[in-house]
């Protein structure tokens, strides 16, 4: 048996491998369930019920899928250029902090809702982009490995978030009222700063959050940017062969900064959507934003979508469904942690499947002379 590089990647494999990974992951996770004495089939039926079929299930799935679409798009945008921005988690926190400040301030000063929301979107993008530009600038100017730096900044952002709500009387913290003096919490957004949602009247009503719409829009914009513009082409060349890009006179530094900025802005937008759409406060509760791992799961989403922005939206919905089922079902039949196990296996099989896309596995000893790559 030998493994050789494919000269062309067949189109059908690009869809078949992620789909096969999903199937394999359910099979492998079934083995884990079976080995620990659970009935895999009934667990899976519960997952499907809780994710799609029960009353209100689709709405909750959308609640989980929306932030994952943002962090998935953030990862996809950067990973396409082989810029490994692992910092979507921290960038999302920063976007949430800035967007929350904008919502609290402008919403409290009688601005019209549309303007407040627009300002929150801009603030979220700016907060996320600024946080992402730290590793971006270090990479551009000092060639510092962005993987570790962006990751380290996740923890710093998490400490900042905790600090703002728990350890200081900051602008974001609720300081009035009896509850606030007993248990630290963040301020609730004024009504003018809440993001609207569109109701679809099926299955007990599905609320389509504004953030989900924005995520789809961003996905189309990114798809256009990366496949139809000179910018996207240059980013692709830079990712595939930095040296070739340099000889062709492309501006490496500028591109690194731009792509990291875009990636961070999209993650920050996810933070703004968290605040405006769902939490309506900064929410640094120990079981809040920091326990969701949206930033890290976004990498699963992006990898499974093979960094294609449009596919990210679809995958985010599926992984969001899984997350939602995990949250709802947590209990005896459905030990917490199972969702992470399944996500890990999905990612492992997608990664292993990459081999089939990039290489041809040939059984036998002869090798045609014409195919030497």
């Amino acid at each position: 048996m030998r493994i050789e590089r494919r000269l062309r990647q067949p189109r059908w494999l690009i869809v078949a491998v992620p789909a096969g990974s999903l199937v394999f992951a359910f099979f492998a996770a079934g083995l884990v369930l079976y080995a620990t004495g659970h009935n895999a089939l009934s667990s899976y039926r519960q997952i499907i019920d809780a994710a799609f079929l029960n009353s209100g299930a689709l709405g909750q799935t959308l609640t989980q899928a929306t932030p994952l679409a943002f962090t998935g798009l953030a990862a996809a945008a950067a990973f396409r250029m082989r810029l490994f921005n692992i910092g979507a988690e921290g960038q999302l926190f920063m976007g949430a902090i800035t967007a929350d400040a904008a919502g609290l301030y402008l919403g409290g000063h009688g601005w019209p809702t549309a303007l407040v929301i627009f300002a929150m979107v801009i603030a979220g993008c700016a907060g996320g982009a600024a946080w992402a530009l730290i590793p971006g600038a270090l990479r551009a100017f000092f060639k510092t490995n962005e993987i570790i730096t962006s990751l380290m900044l996740n923890y710093v952002a998490a400490y900042v978030l905790t600090y703002l709500v728990f350890n200081t009387e900051s602008y974001w913290r609720q300081t009035k009222g009896f509850n606030a003096s007993v248990f630290p919490t963040s301020k609730t957004l004024p009504n003018d700063a809440l993001w609207p949602s569109a109701m679809i009247h099926v299955r007990g009503g599905i609320a389509l959050p504004l953030g989900a719409g924005i995520a789809v829009l961003v996905a189309f914009l990114l798809w256009f940017l990366f496949t139809r513009t000179r910018f996207g082409f240059e980013a692709q060349v830079l990712g595939d062969s930095p040296r070739a890009a340099q000889y062709a006179g492309m501006r490496t530094r500028r591109k690194i900064l731009a792509v990291m900025g875009i990636s961070g802005a999209v993650a920050g937008l996810g933070g703004a959507s968290q605040v405006g759409d769902f939490a309506h406060m900064l929410d640094a509760d120990p079981n809040g934003l920091q326990k969701q791992y949206y930033g890290y799961t976004g990498i699963v989403v992006a990898a499974l979508a093979r960094y294609n922005p449009l596919a990210v939206v679809v995958v985010a919905f599926l992984i969001g469904a899984l997350q939602n089922a995990g949250n709802t079902l947590q209990g005896a039949d459905f030990p917490s942690g199972l969702v992470g196990v399944m996500q890990g296996i999905i990612l492992f099989s997608a990664l292993g499947g990459e081999l089939l896309v990039r290489y041809r596995v040939r059984v036998g000893r002869t090798m045609p002379a014409t195919e030497a790559a």
């Binding site: 050789e4 590089r5 884990v32 620990t36 490994f84 692992i86 730290i134 270090l138 000092f142 060639k143 510092t144 490995n145 993987i147 570790i148 730096t149 990751l151 380290m152 900044l153 923890y155 710093v156 400490y159 900042v160 905790t162 600090y163 350890n167 200081t168 791992y293 890290y296 799961t297 990498i299 699963v300 990898a303 030990p335 917490s336 942690g337 199972l338 969702v339 992470g340 196990v341 996500q343 890990g344 296996i345 990612l347 492992f348 990664l351 292993g352 990459e354 081999l355 290489y359």
Partner: protein, 322 residues
């Protein structure tokens, strides 16, 4: 004197730094062979839960239970590392994504939490734990060195042996030199007749074993109990520590104790009523911020090569494509 801030912080710095040291030593071995494993946090957490499970369920005396627990933790860490090794060495997957996948799979929202909950390990203290009373009380009362050096548990002393062992292995043995060759120039190593695949597998697995022990340090010594996500990001600090230490075992020890001391600083300052601004914020963030700063220096022109980053770290080796 032994109650002075400096001595207390240093003594707990050594204790808190020990899991970082084990994790970093393991990651150092893997990276020296050219494999970047970002799954340390996940491997640590699985080691932590399996070590704790062994202590709770094995009916044996303290010494035997603890020895078995450390062994089981190491094997659990190795099993996790084996997934990463298979994906990146045999299947040539991206080391970065695979390592992250390992942390998601095994980490605080994954297998470690699944196992801990399914085996009902939460809410019970460990039946046996590593005691800090290895040396006689008179020695522990010695000024300064008493608490810092003689007031630690067996895992701390074992980690010192590991530092010396790994250091000698990499610099003084034939096998260790081969590892470095594999990490620097796998094609040349292959031409010399070194089995690149075998070396990379062996050292990735060894890295997993160290990470497993690092996790067990949490559940059997630092806080002898199990809660989900007990390592709290120590795995990531361990990865950073390897860079911080310029891929040298002895410097890993210094860095680990420094980061450990930072962790101990904030509660100590609070307990003594010393106000140095937002301590929780800066003392907790400092290890991460310092890693970023050090990385910038390490990556500055030419320094990276001089300071010892393995030249083919993160790159798959494919003989046909060399």
């Amino acid at each position: 004197m032994n109650n002075s801030l400096l001595v207390v912080v240093l003594a707990s710095g050594v204790a808190y730094g020990t899991p970082l040291l084990y994790g970093a030593l393991g990651e150092l071995l893997a990276e020296r062979s050219g494999v970047l494993n970002l799954g340390v946090e996940g491997m640590m957490l699985v080691g932590a839960v399996m070590g704790f499970w062994t202590v709770q369920r094995l009916h044996a005396d303290t010494a035997l239970s603890l020895a078995a627990a450390v062994g089981v933790a190491a094997i659990a860490g190795m099993a996790m590392a084996a997934i990463h090794a298979f994906l990146v060495i045999t299947l040539r997957a991206s080391q970065i994504v695979s390592g992250l996948a390992l942390t998601i799979f095994a980490g605080a929202a994954g297998l470690s939490s699944y196992l801990g909950n399914d085996l009902n390990l939460a809410d019970n203290p460990a039946r046996h734990a590593f005691s800090a009373a290895v040396f006689p009380a008179s020695m522990q009362r010695l000024p300064v060195v008493g608490p810092i050096i003689f007031g630690q548990n067996v895992l701390v002393y074992a980690s010192w042996v590991c530092v010396v062992g790994v250091s000698l292995y990499l610099s003084r043995t034939r096998l260790g030199l081969n590892v470095r060759a594999v990490g620097e120039a796998p094609a040349s190593a292959d031409a010399m007749g070194i089995n690149v695949t075998a070396y990379r597998y062996a050292h990735t697995l060894a890295g997993g074993a160290f990470a497993g022990v690092a996790g067990a340090t949490f559940t059997l010594a630092i806080t002898p109990q199990w809660v989900s996500g007990i390592t709290g990001g120590a795995g990531w600090i361990a990865i950073a520590l390897v860079i911080f230490a310029f891929w040298r075992p002895a410097l890993c020890l210094v860095g680990a104790y420094f980061f450990g001391a930072l962790q101990a600083l904030s509660p100590q300052l609070q307990a003594r009523g010393i106000n140095l601004g937002p301590t929780e914020l800066w003392a907790n963030s400092l290890p991460y911020v310092m890693t970023v700063v050090v990385l910038v220096f390490v990556s500055a022109s030419g320094a990276r090569r001089r300071l010892g980053a393995p030249a083919s770290l993160g790159l798959p080796y494919v003989r046909e494509e060399r």
